[in-house]
Symmetry: C2
Subunit: 108 residues, 2 copies
């Protein structure tokens, strides 16, 4: 439970940065090297690597070294965890609305 | 677009904190005053108010003053925006997997 909590902290924190979200967006479309990610973002490869380390640590991306090239891919687990966390809260909120609706229907 | 970007930044940043997520969880179940939120979280009312200000600024909660009591409620817009952002990236990723599947099927 504690490690799940830490992961969710990391995932949301990682997604709170627009450059990291842009990287997640690009990797959702296709795997890419750090240098290919850097160019359209207008940042250095070193900066991309730093962001990728944060994305990797939070389970949002993973990198593989094939020969001399390090390729980055989306890791769906991280996005799924964040999506599930939000969906669970929405479900709580919707249940409460349903109950309120029932109470109002009883009163009318 | 810029304001949407800023909002998404704020929403994910706000959700990156375990205390704020606990507040969102409680407000998803029912509206509550800041003092009612503070007790089970083991933090001061002042600390809750600070967290609530961040949640309000990011569109995740709203507060209403009824007489002397300030009541906090969940604001579904913020959670929906975050959920939609994630779902859109998942959709990109799933489309790519579908294409890969088609390519593999053609090859076999």
């Amino acid at each position: 439970m504690v490690s799940a909590q830490i992961s969710i902290d990391r995932i949301f924190h990682a997604l709170g940065d627009p450059t990291r979200r842009a990287i997640v967006e690009k990797l959702s479309r296709q795997p890419a090297s750090a240098s290919r990610l850097a160019k359209p973002l207008g940042i250095t490869v070193a900066a991309v690597v730093q962001h990728l380390q944060i994305l990797e640590a939070s389970g949002l991306a993973r990198t593989e070294k094939l020969g001399r090239v390090r390729t980055c891919r989306i890791e769906p687990k991280g996005l799924s965890m964040a999506e599930q966390w939000i969906a669970d809260r929405r479900s709580l909120w919707e249940k409460r609305l349903d109950k309120l609706g029932d109470l109002l229907a009883e009163d009318s």
